[in-house]
Amino acid sequence: MFPAAFEYRRAQSIDDAIAALAEFGEDARILAGGQSLIPAMRYRLARPSALVDINAIGELGYLRERNGFLTIGALARDFALETASLIRERYPLLADTSAVVADPVVRQTGTVVGSLCHNDPAGDWPVTSLAARAEVTLRGPNGSRTVAIDDFIVDSFTTAAGSGEVATEVRFPSPNARTAGSFQKIERKVGDFATASAAAYLTLAPDGTIGKAGIAIGAVGPTALRVAVAETLLEGKKPTKELIREAAREAEKLADPTADNRGSVEFKKAMAGVLAGRAMTAALGRLGVGGLE
């Protein structure tokens, strides 16, 4: 199957890309990894009038840790995170996620920022980004702005990015020694979208209670969902099996999936709960808090 015809422009810089978007109008799309866009174009579900290819903008491929953030450039591929020791050692939540996105070949081309911009309700990065409270930087004709992930995610396949804007990077707060996370996902097979997924990102207070909690679930609603009730439930409390069970129940309650080949509403809700629980337990495990009572 072959895409409908389109115009192609290779941008040499971000400004170049912004100018091209302005020139081609709202039916133009940014081409980064293209691992969601190109298949959609082959089925002629997506038919952009023009593609603005940013792959030549070499400097966008960075993964850098600076002033309290890990910043991931628009061309950083999932594979880069999967293999970087910095990520494996300091950002296990991101390492988890990068290792289960799509399939291992697609991950060598797909980008983190592209996945966030695509904002598929079953995507993995939106879930992790909510849990870890990431921020997305957008640049447009009127300069650049940074948007908290909760505001960036607007609706299914819809983000706060304006049609003339380019998402240039996403940044994750750097964890302290008492912070860890985990991403859990059920997929029918490698390469499938999640049947359900969950991410937990927990910071322990010095007294051993949970200081800050980030809990999110995916593939069980119009977008990835923050389980705020579970977060407040956890914060300030000593982690126990029962506490995690309660928090997981909140995830199950909040989940509002549609039935499809991947499963019924009932099953997906239940899995959202199970996975949220497993994510919290795994995150605590990484903080040396195991064998909970």
């Binding site: 002629r44 579900l45 997506a46 038919r47 549609t258």
Partner: protein, 148 residues
């Protein structure tokens, strides 16, 4: 794939007013979001071309809409058939009106859609979101139109 959605609008207008409004194809057509063109084809039917623009998806859906009022049950049934993007959409929506006091009416709506074709299997989640948005916004617009 088969989809279904529900919604409710509380409209600050008497039931009779709302009823007359939703019986008029021209008025309903005017409430569709992102409409490119509409053509009234009868006392209770119209054609519409709606622009789809969601994430990677850009295109047009062509719909034939027919209204089937059931005055005795205070219910309006809409049959919507058409499609685009290599898929066929058959949608049956129903709106039940109930007076909510003097000058207010509750409009409870329900929609069942079947989406067929390759686009449906590849872009199922996109089409689901899009169809939900079209039908939801339509009834929101009915409310807006009657709120002034």
């Amino acid at each position: 794939m088969n989809l279904s959605w529900d919604g409710e609008e509380n409209i600050p207008a008497a039931k009779a007013t709302v009823w007359t409004f939703i019986n008029d194809p021209a008025k309903i057509a005017g409430c569709l979001p992102d409409v490119e063109s509409t053509a009234i084809t009868g006392s209770s039917s119209f054609d519409a071309v709606v622009r789809v623009s969601l994430g990677p998806v850009r295109g047009k859906f062509k719909f034939k809409v027919s209204l089937a009022p059931q005055a005795d049950r205070n219910r309006m049934d809409l049959k919507v058939s058409g499609g685009g993007l290599g898929s066929v959409v058959d949608l049956a929506a129903g709106a039940d009106l109930a007076p909510a006091g003097e000058n207010a009416t509750t409009l409870k709506w329900h929609g069942d859609a079947s989406i067929r074709g390759p686009a449906a299997t590849v872009g199922g989640r996109v089409l689901d979101a899009q169809a939900h948005r079209v039908i939801g916004t339509t009834f929101e617009n009915v409310k807006k139109a009657l709120s002034v």
